[in-house]
Symmetry: D4
C-alpha cells in the first residue's frame, strides 16, 4: 500500500465516501494472508519482481503444499528450495505442471518463463564437478526470474587454462555467480578478470579443514579482488537471485 493509495483513501474520507472506521480498517489490512503456521506475502512478488520461494527444509510436505496453495492464488510460478523427493511428490500429487531438479533439490509449480533477451545473461561458474548442485540452484532461480543463464562447470584454479578459455563469456555476462568449495579461490581469480559484479557462493564440497565450507567462505570474504560479494555456504538460491537482480538493473530506466 503506497502513498498514492493512502492519498486516495484520505481523499475519499474527505469527500465523505468513506468513514473514519473504514479508512482505519483499510490502513490496518496488511497485504498478507494468514494460513496458521505461515504468513503468505502476496505483495513481495510485486515488490521484488520475483516469484515467491518456499524454504522447504524443516517443513513437512503438507506444510509446503499448503503454503504453495496460498501463493498460487495470486502467482503462476512457485519454487521450493531444499526440497527432497517427498516434497516433490506431495506437490506433484496436488498440482499440475510440477517439475523437479534432483541435483539442485529444487521443485517448482508452473513454467519457467522465457528468458528476457533485453538483459545481459547471468554467467554461473563452478570450480569442480562436485559443486554442480549449488550452481544448478543458482541457474534455476535466475531462470525463474526471467534471466538467460550460461553455466560452465569445472573450471577451478588448479588448471587456469580451463578458465581462461572462457574469457569471452566473462566479458558478456551481466553478473557472474561463482560456486566453489575447498579453498574457494575461483572468485578471486574471476574477480580479477571480469568487469562485472561477482557473487561468490562457497560450497560444502571438501573434507577435513574445509569445516563444512568454512574455508571457502573465509577465502571468499577475504578476496583481494574488488567487486566480489558473498552469500551463505551452499546458498545457490541466494546467489542466483542476487545475480538476476543485478542483470536486470540494465533494464532500469535511468533517472
Amino acid at each position: 500500500m503506497n502513498e498514492e493509495q493512502i492519498r486516495r483513501l484520505l481523499e475519499e474520507l474527505r469527500d465523505g465516501s468513506l468513514t473514519v472506521d473504514q479508512v482505519l480498517t483499510d490502513l490496518r489490512k496488511l497485504p498478507f494472508e494468514d494460513i496458521g503456521f505461515a504468513k503468505i506475502d502476496h505483495h513481495r512478488t510485486l515488490r521484488r519482481g520475483f516469484p515467491e520461494v518456499i524454504f522447504a527444509q524443516g517443513k513437512t510436505p503438507q506444510q509446503v503444499v499448503a503454503i504453495a496453495e496460498g501463493m498460487l492464488e495470486t502467482d503462476t510460478l512457485t519454487l521450493a528450495t531444499r526440497a527432497d523427493e517427498a516434497v516433490y511428490e506431495a506437490l506433484a500429487a496436488r498440482f499440475d505442471e510440477v517439475s523437479y531438479d534432483h541435483d539442485a533439490q529444487v521443485a517448482w509449480v508452473g513454467q519457467l518463463p522465457a528468458p528476457d533477451e533485453s538483459v545481459p545473461p547471468l554467467l554461473v561458474l563452478s570450480a569442480g564437478t562436485s559443486d554442480l548442485p549449488v550452481a544448478r540452484q543458482a541457474t534455476l532461480i535466475a531462470r525463474a526470474a526471467g534471466c538467460s543463464v550460461q553455466e560452465i562447470l569445472d573450471v577451478g584454479v588448479a588448471g587456469l587454462h580451463r578458465l581462461l578459455h572462457y574469457r569471452e563469456a566473462l566479458d558478456q555476462a551481466g553478473a557472474i555467480v561463482v560456486a566453489a568449495g575447498m579453498e574457494g579461490a575461483l572468485p578471486s581469480v574471476v574477480g580479477g578478470l571480469a568487469a562485472v559484479p561477482v557473487i561468490a557462493v562457497p560450497t560444502s564440497v571438501g573434507y577435513g579443514a574445509s569445516f563444512g565450507g568454512l574455508a571457502a567462505l573465509l577465502g571468499m570474504l577475504n578476496s583481494c579482488a574488488g567487486g566480489v560479494a558473498v552469500v551463505n555456504i551452499d546458498n545457490g538460491f541466494g546467489a542466483g537471485l542476487m545475480g538476476a537482480m543485478i542483470c536486470r538493473q540494465s533494464r532500469r530506466s535511468n533517472p
Copy 2:
C-alpha cells in the same frame, strides 16, 4: 592485450613488418610495470572502469608513495584505504591535490569526479553512529567511481520507525550498502523492504560475543531476505565498489 591486438601483431608478422622474436617479445610484455616490491596494473583501471586502489595497511608510507607514483603516470585519481595519518602526510608531501578522510581512513590524490547523473544513486545506510567510518569508506569509493551517493546513518532495527521514514530513498537507489555491527540485523530488514540488491558490510562495532564483527558477519550471511550479499568485516571499500558496479549496470547497453 586483447585478441584484436594479437591479430594485428600476427598480421604484421605475416606481412614481414615484424620478426618472430619481436612478436614473441610483444606477447611476453605484459601490461604491468614492476617497481620492485609491487606490480602496478595499469590495465585494471580500463578493465573495471574504476581508479586503482592501494591497500595501505602493512605498507610503509614510502611504499605507498612509490606505488602511487607508478599509478599516477597513467591515472588521474588514486586512493589509499586503511591509510593512517603518516600515509596521508607522505602523500601530501609528494603530490598536489591530496585529500584525507580521517573517519574512513582513506586518502586520495586527484579529484573525485562529478557524479554521473545517468545512473541511479547508491544508498549507504548505517545501523549506528559508530558504524560511520565503514559507511564513509563505501561512500568515498563509490563517489570515486563516479556514482552519486546518499548516506543515512543511525537507522538500526531497535527503532524501526527511523528506517521506515526513508522508504522513498530505498525505492530510488540503484543498490544499497548497509553497514551494521553488533547483531547485524539491518540488512535483513532492508532486504525485505527494498527491490534492489543489498550489499551488507558487517562492522567490528560491538564487544564480547561480537567477536570482532563475527556475529554481524554470520547474521548477514544467514539473512532470511533474498538479494543480500556480504563482504568482509569493516570492508566498506569492497561494499562501495560492488554497489557502484551494480548502479552502473543500468548504463549498460543491452545485448
Copy 3:
C-alpha cells in the same frame, strides 16, 4: 528445611524431647529421594512453583519412567522434554493421562492446569514456520506453569508488516518469547517495539554458516535493543519457563 524448622528442632533438644543424635540425624536428612541413578528433588517444585521436568535425552525410556514414578508420588503433573516416541510410549504404558506433542518432543503425565487469568499472558513468537517445534516447547511449559499463552508464528523480519500487524499483542503480554533461526534478528526488532522483557531463543534452523544455530545465538547476544536476554539454542523449554516466571511476577505481593 528452613530456619523456623531448625529452631523448633533445637527447642525440642533443649526441652529434652529430642537427643543430640536425633537432631544431628534430622539436620542431615536432606529433602531428596535416591532412586539409584537419579536423585528426585521433591522440594524444588515448592521452591520454584513449577512442575519438575525430566530432560529425557541420553536417558533410556525405563530411566524416564522410573524418575517419573518418583516425582508423581508428590506431584500431579510431570513433563519430559527432548522425549522421542519411545519415551512417550513407555510413559503411556505405565501411567494414565499421558499426552505427547510430537512437534515439541514433549510428553507429560497429568493435566495441564487452567490458565491463571490474574497474570498477563506470555506471547510466543517465531520467525519462520520451521521454528515451530521450539516455539511450541515454550508454549507447553508456560502452560504447565499456569500461564495463558498466545502463539504467533512466521513473523520474521524479511516481511516487517507481518509483525507490525500484531503490535497490540506485544503491548498486552507480560513477557515475550521469540524463537528465530538463521540470522536471529527478530528479537532485536521486537525488543525495540515492546515494553516488556524479551527472552530470545535461537533455533538451529538454517544451514551453512548458521553453524547449527550459532549465528542466531551470537546475533541475539549482540542485540542492540535493551531488555533482551538469551537462552541456549533450541531451548524452548528454558525460554518458556523464564517467560512464565516473569509473567507471574505481576502476582507478587509488593514488599
Copy 4:
C-alpha cells in the same frame, strides 16, 4: 503515534479542519529528531519507561555530548555506558550534575531517582572481586530505572558457604543478576536456589581458555538450572535493564 492519535487526525480531516496534505505530513512526521550522525528517539523513553542510554564506545566525546543534548531536551536523566574519562570530561564541561563511576565506566547527566519501594529489589551478585565493574554497571542502570538494588560481591562457587550465607537475599529479590567470569558456574547454583528469574552476565575476567569470556558465556547458556537467561559478555548494562524490567512487573496492573 498511536491509533488514537491517528483516529483523531482522520476525524479532523473528515471534519474539514485538516487537509489531506496536512494529514499525510503528520503521518510522515515520525517521532525522532535527526542530528546528522544520530537519530534521537524521544518516544523510546515513554515506550520502555527507562531513560535513554548512549553506547559511547566508538563515538567521539563530541558526538556523545551532541546526542546527550538532544536527549536532554525531553528527558531529565541520560546515561552513557562504556564511557572513558574523556567522555566524562566532555559531558562535565557541557552540563551540570554530571556523575561518573570509574569502575563501571558509566557517566550520567541528571540525578538517579529515589528507589521505587513498591517493587521488590534487584539483587546483583558477582563471583569474584574482579567482576565488580560489570556488576556495578547493572546496579547503576537498575537504579536509574528506579529500582532498589542490593549488591553482593565475591560469592563464587569455590566457597559455597559464602553464597549460602545470603539465602535470605535470594528469596527477597524480584530478580537476580549474576556476574561471573572464568567458568561462569555461579548462575547455575543461584538458579537452583532461587525462585525468581536469574539474568546471567558472563564477564571477560580470566585468561587462557576463557577466550575473553567465551567459557563463561557457554557455561551460562548451558545452565542445567531453569529460569536462567543470558546477556552478552560484560554487558552489565543489559543485565541490569532486564532485571529492572522484571522487578517492575510486580507493579503491573493485572488484566
Copy 5:
C-alpha cells in the same frame, strides 16, 4: 632395559662372555613385539602398573582380537575401550572370561582384581543421569587398576543439597573423578569442598551451545577452584586412570 641391565651386559662383554655384536644386538632389541599393524608394548604394564588398554574405535574387531592375543601372552587382564557390540562378540568368540559393560562401551578379557584395601578409594561423581556412561568408564578402569571405587550419580549443581549430602565421601576419597556435561560446573563446586585432587571429565551431554562438550570442557579448564585438572571430553578412561594413579600414590614408599 635399565642401566643395571646395561651394566651387566657390558660386564659380560668385558669378561668375554659376550661379543661386541651380541651386545649391540641386545641394545637394539627393544621390548615390543611387532604384529604388523600394531606394536605391543609388554613393558608398559610394568612401567605403569596398569593393564594395557586397547582403543577400539577405528579398529576392526579382528584387529582388536589380534592385539589382545599379543597382550595376553604376558598379561592376564586386557581392556578395550570405545568397544561396540561387534568387538565384544569377537573377543567372546576367541577368549574365555570376556565381560562387557554396555553403558561404558568397555570390554575386558580376564578378571578385574580385588580392590587393594591399602589405598584410599576413588570417588566417581556425575552431575546427571545421562553422564553415567562416562562415569562408569572411569569406575571400570580404576577397578581394573586395583582401586576400590565409590560411584555417586546425579548430584549436579542445580540441587546443591544432593551433593552436600555426600560430604563424608568427599573427605574419604584418595582422589575424585567428576563427570559433567552441559555447563560442567560440578568440578568447581567439588574442588571448593574437597581436600584431594579432582579430575574433571567433561561429557558431550547437552545440545545447542554445548557444542559436543566444548562448553563443559572450557568451564572445567577455567575452574576457579584449585586442585582441578581436566581430561578430554567423554574420556572417562583417562580420568579413571589418573584417579587410580593418584590414589595409589599413598602406597608409595617415601624416599
Copy 6:
C-alpha cells in the same frame, strides 16, 4: 565448622550452657570474613592444607593489599599470582618479608616453608626456554605448599635426547608438571615414559595457528598417553598446586 563442633554446640544447648538463639547465631556465623569487595575464606587453608592465593589480575593493588591483610590475620604466608610490579610494590610498602619473582609474576608475603622431605619431589619440566615463566609459577606454588621441586627447562621433543638424559628424575618424582607451548607434545612423550601422574600445562608461547595456546591445549587434551590431565593455558599455578597435592598423597595414612 565440622560435625564435631556442631555436636559440641548441641551438647552445650542440651546441657543448658547455651541458649537456642546462641546456637542459631553460631550456626549462622560462617567461617569467612567480609571486607566489602572480597570474602576471605580462613577455613580454606585448613581444608586444603595450602596457603590461600590471591588472583591479582583485574584487582587494584589496594584491593590486593586489603585482601592480604585479611588473610595474614590467620595465615603466615600469602601469595598473589598474575601480580605485576605495582602489586608487588604495594605489598612491599605494607608488609615486611615480601618477595617477588618477576618471571612468574608471583609475589608473596612471608617465607616459603622448608621442603617436606617425607614426600617425593615434584618434577617441573618445560619444553622451551620461553615457557620458563609458567614453569616457575608451578615451582613456587609447590614450594609454598611444602614440596621439594626439581625444575628442568628446555627439553622439548624436537631433541629427544635432552629429555631421555633425565630418565632418572622422571622415575623419582611424585608427580610431573610439564609446561609446553607450540604443539604441546612434551606431556605425551613424558606420559609414555613416566610411571606417575603428569599435569600438563599449555603455554601461550607460539604465534599464528597457536591461537594463544589453543593448539597446545588441544594437543594435551588429546594425549595418547594415559595418566595425563590438563589445566588452563598458562596456569602454572594450578598445575603446581595439583602436583603438590598428588605428591603429598604419599604421606596420607592408609584407611
Copy 7:
C-alpha cells in the same frame, strides 16, 4: 603449449605455411577436453609427471567412470580417491584391470608402475593402527608415482622406543610422511630425528576435543621441529604426492 611450440607456429606463419586465423585457432585450442560436467586436463600428467587423480567424493559413479574414460584415452593409469564400493564396482564393470584398496578408499585402473630404484624410498609412518587408512592412501599414490615406499605403522610417541627402533629407516628415506591423529605429536619427534623433509598429515582419529582432527592439525602446524610441512586432515593422497615429488628431486639433473 610451450614457448618452443609457439615459436614454431609463428615461424610457420612467417613462412606462409599457416594463416593468421590458423595460428589464432591453435593458440586458442587449449589442452583440455570438455566432457560437460568435467574438464579433463591431459597436459597435467606431463607437467607434473604423475597420473591424474579423480576426487570421487560428491560425484556419482557414472561421473567418475566418464571422467576416467576421458583420462584413459591418453594415460595408462588413473586413480580415484575417496572412492566407495559403488565407485569401484562401476569402474570394474567398465574397465579391465581395476583394483581397489578398501582401507584407503582408493580405486585404480591400470597397473601401478615398478618402483624407480634410482630415487630414495618414501617412508610412511603412522602413530596408531587406526591411522592406517590415511597412511595407505599416501603409500598408494606414491607407488603410482613410481616411488618405492616403506610403511611402518603404530609408532606413536607414547612408546618412543617403537620409533627409535626404526632410526635407520628414517636416515635412508628421501622424504617421510607421518600420519597421526589425536594430539598429532609424532611429526615433531620425527622432525627432530630425521634429516629429510617431513610431510605431516593429521587424521581425524580421536574424539571429543580432537574436533575431527583439528587438534592434530594445529599441533602439526605449530611443530617446534624445522622441516615439517602439513597437508589437510585425512589427506593421505596429498601427503603421498608431495612426498613422491620430493623423493624424485634426487633424480633431477643439476643446473
Copy 8:
C-alpha cells in the same frame, strides 16, 4: 653419537682400554650442553645440515646472547628469528659480524654462505607487497642453508598476468615458497602451474574475517592442487627451511 661410535666404544671396552664405568659415562654423555635455561644441541647442525636457529620471541636479549655464545663454540653461523631491535643490539654488542634484516625480524652472527650452484634455486613468491616480511624470512633462511634464492613479490591472483609473466622461474626452481595473506589463493594457482613441490605459508596480512591469517591457512590446507603443503601462519622461516631441504635433495647420492 652413532652406532659406529658406540661400536668403537664397545671394542675398546672389550680390548680393555676402557672400563665399564667409562663406557657407561660416555653412553650417558649426550650431545648437548646445558646452559641452565636452554639446552644447546650441537649435533643438530650435523644431522640436518643447517645452522641452528634461535626462536627469540619470549626470550630476553640476554638469553639470546647466551644461547648464541653456546652455539658459536661449534658453529660459524647462527640466526635468531622473531628478533626485535633489542635482540639485534644485544647481539651486536657481543659479537662481530652481526647483521639484521628489519623487515624479516631476523638477526644473524657470521656470514651467509655463498649459494651452492649445484642445486636448483628456491623460488620465493608473495601475493602482495605486505607479505614481504614473511617472504624475506624464507629467503634469508634458505640462503643461510646455502641455497640460491629468487624472490618475486606482489604476484597475487587478482592480476593473473603478473604471475604468468614468471612461468620460466616456476619451471627452473627446485621448490617454491608462496607467501600469501587474505584469501591465500596463490599457492593453488602456483601448484596448478608448477612441476615442483610448493610450500605455502599463510600470512596474517588482512583484517576482519581473515582472523589473523586463519582464512589464508584454511584456504591453503584445502588447496585443490596437488603438491602443496603448508606451514604455520607467518612462518617464513619454516617454509624457507623446508624449501631448502627439498632443493638440496637434488644433490643426494642415489641409493
